[in-house]
Symmetry: C2
Subunit: 415 residues, 2 copies
């Protein structure tokens, strides 16, 4: 019997699709599967004792605030902590520039609600974060794409894209998801100049900025933005909305992230958040505040960097040892992912089926492109969630699947 | 200097307005103000020790799950607990019928995204919950309204409204917000018959169902729905989507609520939730599960009912003692609110200014009507958040403001 609701679904749901990544998460919960598919932090680095203490202290001393409704903008001491935390990376903001969100995914939902009319074009890197495409799709976005290379977004390719009048640019400058590449300082300067010249604002998504394993920190776009630097009227921040999160430096299960934007944009985003979920859990905000305070995060990320660097190195070494020479990959300086490019003609959805039979998983590249799909043959590999020896074993298994598909392709060509 | 972003805001934000209730919450945080404005539970009934234990147990035994990303549909043991909890109220559902949400406000956002195309008409009670209007407005809803009286929605007024083809009806049958009235059993039967006859589905919002202080429990619409009862194909639930929450029976600060709907609707709502916030905090879901299990809620609501009944009675008594005879009010059998009707011509926004000078607050009625505003002169009073003696004092102060405005009106009429 047909569902009585289906014919009532709104137009916008026609483009809503389940993320292959979240579907894969279910498939890969079999314990024998080594999964490079998710973007999961390592549970070994969750600061459990610190959270125990934080929960105890919050409920002991401030339960009637922590368990009650709270302000939509967020728990004020947490917003102050975020301001102080960002100042260390050169981002000069005040509490009025900060909105606490229920994870960065909610930040993308709110930004889409605020800025996207059906049919608006959004400039995105190609490939880009699948969750952003989902949030933008739902408000009816279309896309202008600019490719990335080892230095990030190819700014030399941008003028034509900007002339088509995109509503904003969505950019992941550090350890890009899925590419793993980092936008060079030179290109960041070019990007903020172009933003200023064409009057096209930037949404800068920076979930991994602190997770750098080698090389020098590069200033965020929100710091380099000239429209910000040029102002002397006390109006803070200019053409860039900046997003970051506690998910990768503390734990994702609490769903606490934030948006930095000019105060009038924060007011509008807060109004939208009211109708979206009233506010982020007061309790988790206060627990994050207690856990993060007194410089804990800066200490804790040293441990995370050490653990993830080992895992990145294990994956790079295993790829070098097991993968055939016609396959290449990026060498990320930080973050959680690397991006593998195979010879053209490999169907990575088919490859995934073969890999799953070997009990190893990855995300096929086409998830990370707007509707047109993957123009090449790519896979995204996550290296944060498995121990180094499991990473080596997983890459060995995956190399068998890759070899199988390369043979299949060769056979097809011969036929 | 003008904000560089304002001219980029999407069409839908033009209707987005800050809820007067949340703005009032800020104003009324002065400790000397007695506020009847919020819908805040009493912090005295938060089960703090139970939450302490729950946090400890979750982090002691399951930290790597609790702090990690989780499934969009929700933590499975919590979904099972919700199914068992609802069965005691006659709602027969399975886990596939349940989606955990970040508060009921998110349920309204997801339903709006799923069902509302710009210009669709939604049938709402008049007055109705302001948060629903905000969520529906954002997706471009228009409204058909049907008035309520002491027995709830006036079902005799509905046929004409239904003939205009609303997309769905949004109904609060128990202790309605803001009216405080409860839909009678007879009208519930009429309502589900009309829903079936016209093929117009119902969204049933039931945040307070367990908070009944007198009278008999009345079956929810989702139970009475004939399209559900008539089915024998194993496909569960029919024309009603049902919403409820842990906010009023445990604590709102955790932001955990749920949607009950046919499985295919749950699948679509889950896809929308993925792009909205990935999932509700794994940690708070597990803490709610640990706090709620083993029948704790049913024990705990006995305490809540006792405390809130005293407060309701204190407010009814004070209204009787202090308010002039030309003012009337509802006598709620449960929930958090009552609804006061004043003689025509009283401007309740002005009245609020006068009341705030007396250090007492309420919500003016026009917040609870679609764009056209309050056709009468109403105020919503919350009785759950203040102690009985403060309630009496607050109503005394409010009666001074009311008397002041009645005199002002009389003077204006004479001029």
């Amino acid at each position: 019997m047909a569902a009585p609701w289906a014919h009532r679904y709104a137009q916008r749901t026609k483009t809503a699709k389940s993320s292959i990544i979240r579907e894969l998460l279910k498939l890969t919960q079999r314990p024998e599967v080594i999964s490079f598919a998710g973007g999961l932090p390592a549970p070994e680095v969750f600061p459990v004792a610190r959270f125990q203490e934080a929960c105890h202290r919050v409920l002991q001393t401030q339960a009637s605030t922590a368990l009650q409704y709270g302000p939509t903008e967020g728990y004020r001491p947490l917003r102050e902590l975020i301001v102080a935390h960002m100042a260390r990376y050169g981002i000069l903001a005040s509490v009025d520039n900060v909105l606490v969100t229920s994870g960065s995914q909610q930040a993308l939902d709110l930004i889409a609600k605020l800025l996207i009319n059906r049919g608006d074009r959004i400039l995105v890197e190609c490939p880009t974060y699948v969750g952003a495409l989902q949030a933008f799709d739902l408000m009816g976005a279309e896309y202008v794409t600019v490719p990335i290379d080892d230095k990030g977004l190819q700014t030399c390719e941008m003028e034509q894209a900007l002339r088509s009048g995109p509503k904003f640019m969505y950019i992941l400058p550090n350890f890009q998801n899925p590419g793993g590449v980092t936008l060079s300082r030179e290109r960041r300067d070019q990007l903020v100049s172009l933003s200023d010249k064409y009057g096209i604002p930037i949404v800068e998504d920076d979930p991994y900025g602190q997770l750098r394993y080698e090389g020098e920190h590069v200033s965020p776009l929100v710091v380099l933005d000239r429209t910000n630097l040029a102002r002397d009227d006390g109006y803070k921040l200019g053409n860039v909305i900046y997003l970051s999160t506690f998910s990768k430096v503390l734990a994702p299960g609490l769903r606490v992230a934030w948006i930095v934007a000019p105060p009038d944009v924060i007011v509008r985003l807060s109004q939208l958040k009211q109708s979206t979920d009233l506010h982020t859990s007061t309790f988790t905000q206060m627990v994050v505040y207690e856990a993060a305070r007194d410089g804990f995060i800066d200490e804790h990320v040293k441990l995370i960097r050490k653990v993830y660097k080992e895992r990145r190195d294990a994956m790079l070494e295993a790829l070098h040892d097991f993968f055939p020479p016609e396959v290449s990959w990026t060498r990320p300086q930080g973050g959680l992912f690397l991006w593998v490019t195979m010879p053209p003609g490999i169907d990575t959805r088919r490859l995934l089926d073969v890999a799953l039979r070997q009990d190893v998983a990855f995300v096929p590249g086409d998830a990370f492109y707007p509707a047109s799909g993957d123009p090449g043959s790519h896979m995204r590999l996550n290296f944060s969630n498995a121990q180094p020896e499991m990473i080596r074993e997983g890459i060995r298994r995956l190399s068998i699947a890759v070899a199988h598909e390369l043979e299949h392709r060769a056979a097809a060509v011969m036929v």
